[in-house]
Each structure stands twice: as C-alpha cells, then as structure tokens.
Symmetry: C5
C-alpha cells in the first residue's frame, strides 16, 4: 500500500506527487522524493524498482522479507534492512523496514510494523535546515525512530526479570520461574538479532569512507550507533542475569529439597522410636515382667516422650 | 560419473561437448566450459586435472574428499570446497561439492549430494546477461543453490526444538528430552562446520582484492555471504537455546524430585502418627486404663484422624 | 545549579566570572574558562550551550542524561560522558558527569554525584605548570578523580565476597549466600558498564591522532587508562569468582542433602529392624514356642541390639 | 643419536656425508644438507650448532625440550618446534620435533617420537622436482607428516566419545562415564596445545612476507595450515560435546534419583497404610466391635488391598 | 634500601659507585649505571628520581606499588612493572618489581620479593659480550629471571590438581575437594594477572618499532614472550580443568545421593513388608483361622523371607 509520496527541495516539501511522476522528480538534481510503502504487494515493489532503478538483488531481498538487519551499498545507493520489535504477551514479534536510499530519493517499505513513520515525516519537515541534507538525513530520522522504539521494550523486559527475581528468592512457583526465564531468554535473543547486526554495519555511515548520500550527517549516524550500543549493553546485562537467575533458581530448588528431607528426617526421628518401643511392649512373650508393673504403661510413655525431646 | 559437459559463449550455451574436446575449448579466450562430475573415480578426476591443468594439491584434496569448506586461490584459478547437508532421521549427513574455477572453465564434483545441480544450469542458462560474466557467475549460482538448501534444514531443527520445549515444560519424558537435545546439539555442530568456515573465507570473493574470475559478480557473492550469516545466526540462536533447554530440563528433573519427596513426607505424616498410636494401644501392659473405657477405641480413632487433619 | 565559573590564564586563576562574561573570555585565545554545573535544569544547559556554542546532539545527550560512558569528538571539541558510582546498601547507584571540552573552555555537568569536584579544582590550581596545558589537563584531572573513586568500591565488593565465601564453606545460610552472590553479580555488572565503555574509548585521547585540546597530556590519559584496566581486571576477577562461588554453593547444598539422607538411612537402619522383630513377636499365633521361653523376651531385646550394633 | 646425514643438489641426493663434512657442504650455495638427530645428547646438539652456526637462544630451547609449538625466525634461518602425539592407554603422550632450517641446511631433532621420518625422506627423494625447492620443502614434508599423524588420534577420541555416549543414555555406569569424560577432556587439551600454537604461527610461512627459504612452497604450507584447521575443528567439536556429555550425565544421575525416590514412595504407599490398619486392629481395647465380627478379618484384608489398588 | 649501585662500561663492571656519583656517570655516554633498591622509602625513590630524572607519573606508580604489570615508554626511557609470585600455604602472594630503564641506566625496585636478583648480576657480568648491549640487556635478564620463577609455581599447582582429582574419583572428602578447587582457582587467577598483562605489552620490546634501549636484544625479549606464553597456556589448561573438576565433583556428590537412596529403598523393601505381615497377624480379630494353624507361625516367617528374597 502506498502510504506517502512527496517531493522535497531545499529542506522543504514541494508537495505530494503521483507515483508516475517519481522518475521525473528523481531526475531533477536539486530535489528528492520520499516514498513510503506498507506491506506492499510484489507488483508494487516492482513498480517502484522501475521508477527508482533499484538493484535486482536488493529488490529480491525486499520481496522476500525476513532478512537480517544490514546496510549494503549498491553503486552509489544504499539498501538498509531494519527490524522493528513488538512484545505481544510472552512473544517478541518482529517486523521489518527496508529502505532504499539514493542521491535524491528514499523509499521505505515497512512490514508488520505499527505505528508507521508519520512522526518521522513531521519531525523532518519541522527541521528544514537538517532536511536540506537530503535523503541521508531522512534515513537517519527513520533509523533513529526505529532504534528509539527499542528502549521501552528492553525496559519492560528488565521489569519482568525483576518480578521473577523476587519470586525466586521468595522460593515461589519455581516451575513458572523457569518457564518465564526461558521465555525471557528467547525474547532477548530475538531483540539481540535485531540490534547486533546493525551495530556491526552502521559504522559504514559515519566512519572512514562514508557513502555520498550520508555526507554531512555522520554525527547523526554515530548518535544512532551510540543508542544501539546502549540497547545492546542492556541486552547483554539482561541475558547474563537471566542465565544466573536460572542457575540460582536451580539452587533454590535443590535447597527446598534439603528442607523437605530435613522435615522427613525429623518426622522419622519423632515417630519411629516410640513406634519401636510400643512394638516391643506389644510382644506376646509370657515372661515380660514390665507388663505387670503398675507404672509400666505411664513409664513407657514417659520414655517415648523423653526420646522425642 | 560425468553428469554434464558443455561449452558457453557470450552467456549462451554452444552445446554439449566431448571430454576430449575440453582442453580445446578452454584454449579459446571467448568461451568457457562447464563440467559436472558426480561421485567420480580417482581416474576421472585425474583425467579432468589433465584437461584443465589443475594444481596437484587441490586435486589431492578433491581425491580424498572430507575437506572442510574453503576457498583457495592457486595462481589465477579458484578451488572451493562446499558441504551439502541432509537430515536423515536424527543424523545430519554431510555431502561435499568441490569446485575448480578458472578464467574459462568451471568443474564441479559432487559427492553424497542429492539432488544434483540441474536447476542451477537451467537458471544460469535462462539469464544470459548474467551468465556472460562467465565461470565466476556459475560459481555464484552453485554456492547460492547450496546455501539456500541450508534454510529448510535449520528451520526443521527449530521446529524440533520447539517440540522438545513443550515436552520439557510439560515435565514430559525427561530422559527422551535429554537425548533429543543432545542429538540436536550434535546436528547443529555438523551444520555449523559446514557454514562457519565458508563465512570466514567467502569475503575474498567480494571484498578487497577479488580474484579476476569473480570480477563483476561481487554483489552476488556478498549476497551469498549475507545468506550464510542468516543461517549462522539461526544456528547460534538454536545452539544457545539447546544448552539452556538442557539446563532447564535438569531444573525440571530436580523440581520433580521435590514433588516426590513432598509426597513422601506427606505420606509419612499421614500414616506414621496413627501407626504409632495404634502401636501404643497394642501394648500388653496389664494396667492400661484406657483399654477398659468403652469410648477408648472410637476416641483413639478420632485422635488419629485429628492428627492427620 | 551553577557551582563554579572561573577564567584561567597561564595555569593561574584570573578569578571568578559572571555567566554572561563566559563568551567574552572564551573568545580570548590565551585563557580558558572552567564552568561546573550540578543537576542543572534544561534552561541552564541551554544557556551554556549558547555561551560555548555546543553541538546540538551532545547537548541533547546532556539534557537526557543516563548515557553510557563515551568520548566523542564534535569538530575540535570533545564531549565526554562518565559514570560515578555509589554503593547504597546492596544497590550500586549510578551518577553521571558530562564534560564539554573546547580549545579554551571546559564545562562539567554532574548529576546524582557526591561529593563534587572541589578537590579537583584545588589540585589543578596547585600545579600551575600542568594547568598551563589548559582544558585538556582539567579533563584529565576530572577523569582521574572519578576513576580513583572506583577503587574503594571494588575493594568493598571484594571484602563482601570474602565474607560470603567463609559462610559458604561453613555451610552457613545457603539461601542468604545465593541472594548475596546474585546481588554482588548485579553490582559488578553496573560497575562494569561504567568502566568498560570508557576503556574502549579513552585511547583516542593518548594514542594515534589525539584531539588538539589533549596535546601535551597524553601520558596523563594513558595513566587513567592504566587505572581503568586495573579496575576492570579486579571486576573480571570478582565476576569469575562470584560465578564459581554460586556453583560451589550449589555443590555444598547438594552435599548437605547427602548428609541428611545418610542420617535418614542410619535412622531407618537403627529403628526399622527392631520394630520388625517386635512385630513378629507381637503376632497372635497360638503356636509360637519362643513366647513361652523364659529367656524369650530378653533374648529378643539382645537380638535387636545386636542388629543395631 | 645421528639418524641421517646427507647432502642434496638439484633435488637429488648426492650421498650420505660425515658429520665433519657438514660445514663444508653448507658453504656450497647450490646444495643443501639434511641432518636428523634422535634424542640427542647436549654435546651432539652443540656440535651441530657449531657446524650450522645456530642461534644461541634456539639451541637453548632445543637443549631443554618441552617447548610449545612455534616457528621463529632468527635472521634468515627458521627454528620450528612441533609436537608429536601418541595415545598410551588413557594418557596422551607428547613428543617433540625441533627443526632448524637455513638457506641450505635442515636439521631435525626428534624426542620421544616414534616412528621416525624415514617415510618423509623416501617421499622427498621420490619427488626431485619438488625437492629442488630445497630445505623449505623438506620442512613442509616434515610438518605434513607430523600433522597427518594427528588425524587417526582425533578419530580414536571421537570413537571413544561415542562409546561413552551410548553408556550415558543407557544410564550405564555413571561413575565410569564421568571419569572417562574427564580423561577425554584432558587428552583433548593436550592435543589442542600441540595444534593451536602452530595454527597461530604457521601463516608466516605462506602469507604476507615469507622467509626466503620458504619461497616457492607457500601453497604447500597453506595446505598444512588447512589440515591443522581441520584437526582443530574436530577438537573443538569434541571438547564441546564432552562438556555437554558431562552435563547430560549429571542430568541422567539426577533422573535416576527421581526413579529411586518414586520407587521408595510407591513402596511406602503400598506397605504403610496396611501396616497402620493392622496396627489399629492390633490394639487391645476391650470394646472393639469389629474384632468380634466373623468377617472382620477378611474385611480388613480387603480394605488393605483396596487401598493399595 | 640500596642493594646495589655500580657502573658498567663495554660490558664490564667499572666498580661500585656512591649514590651521589650516579648523575655524574649517567652523563657519560659510553657507560651505564645499574642500581637496585629493595622495599625503599618514599625518600629513597625521590632521591633516585632526581638522580635519573624520572617521569613524575612513573615515580608516582613506583611510590604506590600494587600496579598491574605493564611496560610504558616515557620519552626514550622505559618504565616496567613486573609481579613476582610466591606460594605461601594456600595463598598466592604477590610481590612487585618496578624497573626504570634509560639509555645508560637501569634502576630496579623490588618489593615483597625474595630472593633478590644477585643471580641476575652474576649472570650478566659473566657474559660481557651480551652485557655490552647495555641497560636493555639487563632489563631482559631481570624479566627472564622473574618469568622463570613462574614455572615451578605453576608446576606445583598442577601437582595439587592431580591430588584433588584422585580424591574426587575416589569419592573422597567432597567438601574438602570443593574448597581446594576453589582455592586453586583463586591462585590461578592471581598468577594469571601477573602473566597476561605482560604478554599484551611485551611485544613492544621486540616487534615493530622497538624502544632504542632495546635495540639488539629483540630476540631475547621474544624469548621471554615465548616463556610467558607457555606459562599462560598451562594456566589456561589448569583453569579449565579446575572448572571441570568442580562440576565432576558435583556429579560425584549427586551420584553418592543415588547410592544412599538406593540403600534406603533396599532397606525399606527388606523390612517394611515383613513388618506389615507381622502387623496383620498381630491383629486381635476373634476369627483368624491361620492363628490356630500349627504351621501358622513358621509359615508366616517363610513368607516374610520369601518376600525379602
């Protein structure tokens, strides 16, 4: 579905344009076109590939979806794949945003990703002096928006871990704890796979030789990199604590076994000896002098109590 | 066994040729020869080594088979070893494809690998503008085909793990779970050893100094690299979860011990005290006043029930 | 809150200046301005950003706080983020110090950090020959002060671990040990995240191309790096021992189970056999010759004792 | 002990020479001398050091033995230390081969290593066109021979692991399994320390700047490197599986505990309740109506059976 | 305390000199001064700092002690920190040697280190052709001596581990084993921290750009590096085996639990069923025909024995 299609010049929006006009505007060196698709059909992507002249391999990736995050250069254009994340119950759901960036166009394709990037357009259009940097700045604004969405999710996972920790040390519901920790580990892994490949690849946009479309915005991409590192650090931290929590939970379970066995042993000590004594005086030997003693019975009870004490 | 032997020019097939004609066609600078062997004898390999003038060390590797994946340059030719994988029951079976690539020839030798690469030939011949890149493009098409075969296997392993996970949290058949997880770990390792060495070595074909036969197809080899990274990421993920699942399974077993011991303790508590009381009133002391009470018996039963409650 | 605002020339303090005069002094090439803020409002930061002409992205980071430690260059100025640490009970509390350094200014913003850096000012002003190096030397003095505050904290954690170790091998309070070790691991992680990112980034200030403001003070920044490595080494050591201590604690718990089960088995052995013998002679068979023996009763007791022995 | 001492020219053996003639032949630029010592005395090494003019530090290493594998350059000569391995029962025995290579000599010293390198001499002399490369090719032939001896050993360890795996999943002899796995781990470590340092160092002989004596044989040393990588991969695989097998064995032991406790609980359930009922009807109360019932006894037995069912 | 203070020229000792003469000899380009301090006071270090013109930061480190091993260059002089180790009972004690090396002086300061370096002086003076290399060679001789002292310590730890291993597999004293393994791990860590930082830093003295004072002795420093690698490899090996031994010990403890529970179950099986049968025939029902049988009693005993068998 075509969500947006507009032309920009000197950091200001010229206006919405029709799909058919794209290639015309792309030919003008002083302006750039910004197109956004949402869960597009193969035909829609092919149409755009034609208008913008996109590389076949990148288009194939965009058609298939489910790529790992990456930033690839094809000649003087960039193909970026980003993952969006959404926590649904105990599952971490992955969406995808593919971005094609050329000298004077940017095409974003989002899949399974809500909300959209209207906020990014509003922000970009409100800062014309930055938007003047062209398609490279729009790429930054999109990436920044996607990465900023990671923070509340990782914070939510942190809160979840804290809840489980409390239950662990309260020796509470160990079975559920194991399951939650395992689920948490899985979610962290999904997140990690959205973040790590991006960290490895984003340096191309701000360090060393930078693609021409990103000239002038290096400091901004370094800022995204820094945010990614923060998320990554939190993920590492959480992962490490989840593993430790799993092992701590096992220790608590083993400890609970100790308590149970101790109780069992105490019980045995309390009941078994009196039972034995009662058994002895329940024997039917003819000649058991104690049985005739008047104090025999109370004495035997006293002995039982004495042993238990 | 010779599976295929054809000459190509300008991206189009000239026709099948006889083995004896190979060296003649190889000498023509404007065309290239594509030969495919399947589980060949040593003599067949030696024959090809003569026709193409292959390096002794590479030929030795191809004769022995069971190499680790690698891409080596001998002068201006390339020797690539790839592993194919097949899941047979709980085993991961490894096949091998050795590829010799020169400026105007490509020789592929497959072992224990089904299906063959007829599909690769069909694809390559249907894209003459790409096939025009020569032997380098054929190498890409072979690698792409082999790597794409990894995806359904790793997906199958993922499904297997999910099944085991369900059984673990259902505290179901822990012994079988351990065995399956161990088997899964083994399969992941076999896969990993097909994938990882290739990742380390494939960059030679698209980054930095690229062998002449791969000129013009760098973007394609980078695409294979990207696919390998995706497989590798899934393998890492699975491996990590298998290890965690093993430790979770141990926790569940320990937890089951708790439940058993708790039941044992409950049982002891329920039965041992009444047994002791019954023992006491089973003693044969002459002077046990309670024994003469009419309510002695029901009272003792009530006491037993009261203790159990 | 503005804590300090002074101008320096030739390594000596010219005197305190008013906020409004800052930009005036910054314009003089031969002197530098040193400003310190404490938990400032957004307005205060914006005011300083105006006076010093700070980069928007760095200012944004300083506004938000909660950054990971880093040292970034913006043109010929430096933006450094450092974390301060404070142990409060079982929690490791994190404060933050943001430092903007230019050719002739240094602006430090501290948050949640006590005590302040009065000691740094005193030290710097007492060494005019070093202070002559300008803002770069002040940056060093601040970093050195912050890093030196890490040592007593890591030493305190070391002492805590030693206390827990003693309790572990005394088989004392295993539940509390697990909790303390887990807490310790958490504190180590917080510390680690203050130290590690700094180690990765500080080399920019003494090795290879060094920012102009740090010229002449490279040996000093290398010294800070060396101190960071020492802290980092201690943290690694502690982390490793905490993990081992957790596993050792689990071994001790499992061992305690052995002791309990052994006791249970001993108890059973002691009591069960006599109970069985007593039961046998408690049977009501008419024809049990032993019952009529005079030595039947004492003999049975002797047998019971003999079995237990 | 001097095993061999011969001179070569143009890839062909000139003949055996006397020790005293060595320095004379070494001086001739067109030929090279190949000397092999076995478990030599210090004096024998010193004598050779004099004939060949070896570096004092390298000679010292050769005297002491027990070095880690390495390849060091001293001026334009090479000093290589290799480890040979031999499985003796459950121990992995380490031998050592020290090789000094100069422009026109090669001296190999083997210790605790059987069999010797007669096969290497035969092979080298049967390929004069390769032997023409001089001392560098002999170094390759020696290394190739030593590395090829690693394969059967690592395969044997693999078979051992498979045997232990079977026993683990058959819940068979857990104590012996632990011991074998521990021993296996130790053997893998010894092997690893023969292989890993060599991998790190061998690249000097084929990549980047190559020592003059190895010119023309780079492809061969890369082949050795490739073989080492294969061994190393198998070792890593084995090590990983041994660790997992150890943890799986622990899981199986814990699981066996479950089975035992379950049996104990079943036993208690089966016996304890009837014992209690029997105890109740063994009480001596005067007024126990059931005792007078004719069906009292069979009824009580039926109740006991009913409970057990 | 001043241990030694002598001047050398052309590899030969000129004679002991007074402290006050140091700066005079240091000024002569053709000779060098060798001073050794032991546990010096701050004043003694300051005095030397003055005589040799040492850098303030290095002097500060030497005053404080307890540095991590490092080799730093200050201008054309070197400051090296080395750690000496001593096993005292179950503790690994750390001493420190700080060395200042300039073009024509070497100052060593040892703390908590016995024995001293008289042997180094004897060795150096006995090899004038090497001592002619000047202060750089003395630095090597000191480092070589310190590193050689690591070998017997790591060997002793190896012997300790072997003793513990025997006890583990003999299922002997598991509690003590845990404690010893934990202690061993701690000692390994202390050793590791003496060795690892040195490995990272020593390459400066033999590879790439080498400080002028080390020219001509690169091969010797590479030899020290090689020795450090050997120690490091042994430490890694030991650490890995200690961790495995800890987990093996846990497995043995869990296995012991199995044995105990099995014994408990056997006991219950042996005693509980006869006790139940005895209980049944101890019931007081009027109508229990078996009680009147003459073979009732022996029959019941036979049944009990039959069940136990």
């Amino acid at each position: 579905m075509l969500v947006n299609c507009a032309a920009y010049q000197d950091g200001r929006k010229l206006g919405d344009i029709r799909k058919e006009e794209i290639s015309e505007y792309v030919r003008r060196p002083e302006c750039f076109v910004w197109v956004a698709l949402k869960d597009p059909t193969a035909a829609e992507i092919d149409e755009m590939a034609g208008e913008f002249g996109l590389h076949a391999l990148a288009v194939e990736d965009a058609q298939h979806g489910h790529q790992r995050p990456k930033i690839e250069e094809y000649g003087d254009s960039i193909f970026a794949v980003l993952q969006t994340l959404q926590q649904r119950g105990e599952d971490m759901h992955t969406g995808e945003v593919d971005v094609f960036v050329g000298r004077n166009y940017i095409l974003s394709i989002r899949r399974d990703t809500e909300p959209g990037f209207a906020a990014v357009r509003v922000r970009a259009e409100s800062e014309p002096e930055l938007l003047r940097n062209g398609a490279g700045f729009v790429l930054y604004a999109l990436m920044d928006n996607i990465v900023d969405r990671y923070f509340p999710i990782v914070d939510a996972l942190e809160v979840e871990l804290e809840k489980i920790e409390e239950r662990i040390f309260g020796a509470d519901s160990p079975r559920a704890n194991i399951k939650h920790l395992y689920g948490l580990k899985h979610q962290l892994m999904v997140m990690r796979h959205a973040v790590e490949p991006l960290i490895e690849t984003i340096h191309k946009l701000y360090g060393g030789r930078v693609p021409p479309v990103c000239h002038g915005t290096q400091d901004y991409f370094r800022d995204v990199y820094d945010h990614l590192l923060r998320v990554s650090q939190q993920l590492d931290e959480l992962r490490d604590m989840v593993i430790t929590a799993l092992s701590v939970n096992l220790s608590m379970i083993t400890l609970a076994e100790n308590v149970l066995t101790k109780r069992l042993a105490a019980y045995a000590a309390l009941v078994a000896a009196p039972t034995m004594i009662a058994g002895i005086y329940g024997m039917n030997f003819k000649h058991m002098p104690e049985l005739d003693w008047t104090i025999g019975y109370p004495l035997s009870l006293v002995v039982m109590l004495a042993i238990d004490a």
